[in-house]
């Protein structure tokens, strides 16, 4: 089922390249350097294109891999070039682990600044304190070429065509590995993080660990590329560590196409070819980088996708025009496969709050709230605007940490664990405002959710396919059927109608297989017809799990809920069956004007 077309095209192109481009004036050296930058770029694309982490410090790992490999070889610590490359790669990965550990705590602007700063730190380390080993500004000359075989029969991989094929083989291996990563459950989580980090975390994926893992993977690719740079040039240049290297990588990737894996290589070909050729022309020699800079700025402003991205987009549009009807679904599994809950205490309520409070400065948004939600019931929380419903809801899955008190899930304290752990323990939540992965299909959205508890908070399953886990796919089909989204399964979620998006929002929470499902205004913004059908749907969902609903539609609340909790100004005003609540004088007063006896009319 796996499409191997990109791999096949790549191998064919790399086989043909030396015989075609050598006649067009490109040297083997140029082609080798392009592929080397390409390997560096594949790692960077996984980091930036897939996970959305813009690093300006890749030179640190490129240089580390290069200098460790070169040092080991030139100073005869190790005889085998292959082993030296491997050690250099691992060293870069370990440095990546250290820098990543500090950098992934921060996002966006901070991440870019910190990676840039650590890149510079590595540059200065190479240049001064470590210059006894690295040669400082002179680099390490005399890096040997690798050999195949042993002893007298060993064949050296000479510069020229043999070296080109070494680089090409390495590149293909890296590309295949990277593509496997992008198609794995791990890779799908990376896309989820890029699209909507908060939602990925809320579904139960341990986002920081995924980011760190990807950072290390990118560093490993960079380390290998650095090692190969020394080998192919028989010289390890100090500018591998320079800020310009990191910057060049970013520019090449954006020009070639972010999120395409092959884009950085195309960008590198353009950059290096322009530099090699334009530099020879007397009048424009100095201008080549200016031209590239201008192209880069224009690309960022208007054409976001880069060369390969635009090609892929055209290809996709054509495919979409001739799209086959959605594949028949597997027999839907009896809903839900909820993972067993650890140490669920018998007879404990599904969810319980004890003296829960959240104060924002002097504002007591929620103040000392204790109530219990019976297992298997549908429980509604209502109250006028500003009563504290949303804050309460966020505390129930530890999205917001309470000032005081605690939340218990089946008798186990979850306060302080964070939303990701809470999700793993079995609390799902659909949000008042949709939090979808807009560029992914409906099925992929649900897959991200369904994988969360099935795989646990973090798993490095980079080699299996994301859609190869049968019970997850059945779970998705079940949710698609329940939420009536079956015929929209393969469209990107951003083209869904509003009502469909709402259903997908609820479906994602459902797909995690939660014990307790929190629905924050599930009917908000729906048309009357949609409301009616969604109500039925909620009742279905509520048959075999605990549901907590915040909703302003009182008809729906009184129809669905078995018990109702009424909040008023951060405190619990009343609790009981719908009948109790309807008759409660305090509740009526609260809703009909929010006046208390001591307040002036």
């Amino acid at each position: 089922m796996r499409s191997l077309l990109p791999e096949a095209v790549l191998v064919a192109a790399l086989l043909a390249t030396p015989f075609v481009f050598i006649h067009l004036g490109a040297s083997y050296d140029l082609m080798e350097r392009v592929l080397d930058w390409g390997i560096l770029g594949i790692g960077f694309d996984l980091l930036f294109g897939w996970t959305g982490l813009l690093s300006f410090g890749q030179a640190a790992f490129f240089g580390t891999g290069g200098f460790v490999s070169a040092y080991l070889l030139v100073y005869h610590v190790i005889g085998s070039v292959w082993l030296a490359l491997a050690i250099g790669t691992v060293a870069a990965g370990m440095f990546g682990l250290l820098v990543g550990w500090l950098a992934v705590r921060r996002i966006g602007i901070y991440f870019a600044m910190i990676t840039l700063a650590f890149g510079q730190m590595a540059f200065f380390m190479e240049n001064s304190p470590l210059s006894a080993y690295t040669g400082g500004e002179n680099g390490i000359p005399g890096v040997p070429v690798p050999t195949i075989g042993f002893g007298a029969s060993a064949i050296s991989i000479r510069p020229g065509l043999p070296m080109y094929f070494l680089l090409a083989a390495m590149f293909v291996a890296c590309f295949i590995l990277a593509r496997r990563i992008t198609q794995s459950p791990f890779g799908l989580v990376l896309r989820a993080i890029k699209e909507n980090t908060a939602r990925a975390a809320m579904l139960g994926h341990a986002v920081p660990r995924y980011k760190l893992a990807t950072f290390v993977i990118a560093a490993l690719f960079a380390g290998l590329a650095g090692g190969l740079l020394g080998v192919l040039q028989s010289f390890m240049p100090p500018d591998a560590f320079s800020l310009d290297t990191s910057g060049q990588l970013v520019v090449q990737t954006v020009i070639g196409g972010v999120g395409t894996l092959i884009g950085p290589t195309i960008g590198a070909a353009l950059w290096l070819w322009l530099r090699d050729n334009l530099q020879l022309i007397p009048q424009v020699g100095a201008l080549w980088k200016l031209v590239l800079g201008l192209v880069f700025v224009v690309l960022v402003i208007v054409l976001r996708r880069g060369i390969c991205g635009e090609i892929r987009e055209i290809w996709r549009r054509r495919q979409h025009a001739a799209a086959p009807p959605p594949a028949p679904m597997l027999a839907p599994l009896e809903m839900p496969l909820a993972a067993p809950l650890v140490r669920a205490r018998r007879d404990a309520p599904a969810l319980e709050t004890r003296d829960l409070a959240k104060h924002y400065g002097g504002l007591r948004a929620v103040d000392g709230m204790s109530f219990a939600i019976r297992s298997g019931s549908i429980h509604a929380v209502i109250g006028p605007n500003g009563a504290g419903k949303s804050t309460l809801f966020k505390m129930l899955l530890d999205e917001v940490h309470p000032t005081e008190g605690e939340v218990l899930l089946h008798g186990n304290r979850i306060t302080g664990l964070g939303a990701t752990r809470a999700a793993q323990l079995g609390i799902g939540k659909s949000n008042q405002l949709n939090h979808l992965f807009l560029d992914l299909t409906v099925r992929e959205n649900l897959r991200i959710a369904a994988l969360a508890r099935r795989r646990g908070p973090f798993r490095l399953d980079v080699l299996r396919r994301a859609d190869s886990i049968t019970d997850v796919e059945r779970q998705i089909d079940g949710v698609l059927a329940t939420m009536d989204l079956g015929d929209r399964a393969n469209v990107p979620s951003h083209i869904l109608a509003y009502g469909e998006k709402r259903r997908l929002e609820i479906g994602m929470a459902l797909a995690t297989g939660p014990h307790v499902l929190l629905l924050d205004e599930p009917l908000a913004g729906m048309s009357p017809a949609e409301r009616a059908s969604t109500r039925g749907l909620i009742r279905n969902i509520g048959r075999d799990r605990t549901l907590v609903i915040v909703e302003h539609d009182m008809d729906a609340v009184f129809e669905l809920a078995e018990r109702i909790t009424v909040l008023y100004e951060g405190t619990l005003l009343a609790e009981g069956t719908p009948d109790d609540i309807q008759r409660n004088q305090a509740v009526q007063d609260a809703y009909l004007g929010g006046l208390r006896e001591h307040e002036p009319a």
Partner: protein, 291 residues
């Protein structure tokens, strides 16, 4: 252990470098705080200031004129870049803003290279800053002392504009919540333009002062850009006092370390940043949860 006079002289060097860093970083930080844009072209602006100074000085020989024309030129560059490019990016994700300003930086550096070449250029120390000054405990180059003074005055002016004028009030409110300021009926876009131009001019002015101290090349601004980032991380994102204090701290770290072992001077700066990231991620003057 280095001798006391060496330590003292390095401490003063740290003050000179630190005050320049403070000026560069405060330009970067008010743009970041107000517009939410991290200007990766800030180092190029610094460099552009140096070259502007160089050109006017060579043409006229007047320092006063060079500083005035150079500052006006930098304001104009700021206005132009904001109107032509940065303005289009206020609603785009931070990564795009970083990429586009990074690209602008490349274009500026390469444009200067195309005009002036990569050869190093020099600006002679001005006559009013020539020689050394005896401080009693230390003999120190006069120009560097004056530089510290000029930067201090510039920072004071910047502070007064930001904290004592109604324009500054709008800017500071914009740092807190630009949308809200817009809702109140204040032309936020015009404030943005002004802030961006001031930020660019601050970097350019620092570049002008730096000119007589170094060999001038088009890549001059790179190291200042990265050091300004470190300053902002240390001081706290978008914080003006943070940029000033952070700048001085960074300058002293580099200079004092260099008195012990010059090989580690820059490395130490990043090591301190790394430590601070672990101990106090929001920076010295930053508030938790911002940006």
């Amino acid at each position: 252990m280095p001798s006391l006079p060496l330590l003292l002289s390095q401490a003063f060097n740290g003050l000179a470098l630190g005050s320049l860093l403070a000026l560069v970083s405060s330009g970067l930080t008010i743009v970041l705080g107000t517009l939410g844009v991290l200007n990766f072209a800030h180092g190029a602006m610094f460099m552009l200031g140096t070259y502007a100074m160089l050109v006017v000085l060579q043409a006229t020989g007047s320092w006063l004129l060079a500083a005035a024309v150079g500052t006006l030129f930098m304001l104009a560059v700021g206005v132009l870049v904001e109107r032509l490019v940065v303005r289009l990016f206020y609603r785009r994700p931070p990564d795009d803003q970083i990429l586009v300003t990074f690209g602008i930086g490349i274009v500026l550096v390469e444009s200067v290279r195309a005009v002036f070449g990569s050869e190093t250029q020099h600006i002679a120390t001005p006559s009013w800053g020539a020689g050394v000054t005896r401080l009693g405990f230390l003999i120190y180059p006069t120009y560097r002392l004056e530089l510290i003074g000029i930067v201090a005055v510039t920072l004071l002016v910047l502070y007064l504009v930001l904290y004592r004028t109604s324009v500054g009030l709008v800017v500071r409110a914009g740092i807190e919540d630009a949308r809200m300021v817009g809702i109140l009926g204040i032309n936020v876009r015009r404030t943005f333009l002004l802030v961006f131009a001031i930020g660019v001019a601050a970097a350019g002015f620092a570049g002008m002062l730096y000119g007589p101290l170094v060999s001038i090349t088009p890549d001059l601004g790179d190291s200042f850009l990265v050091q300004a980032f470190v300053v902002i991380v240390i001081g706290g994102l978008g914080s003006f006092p943070g940029a000033v204090v952070g700048g001085l701290i960074a300058g002293e770290i580099i200079s004092i370390t260099s008195a012990f072992n010059s090989a580690y001077s820059e490395v130490m700066l990043y090591a301190v940043m790394a430590l601070l990231l672990v101990a106090r991620p929001q920076g010295l003057f930053g508030t938790e949860g911002r940006v």
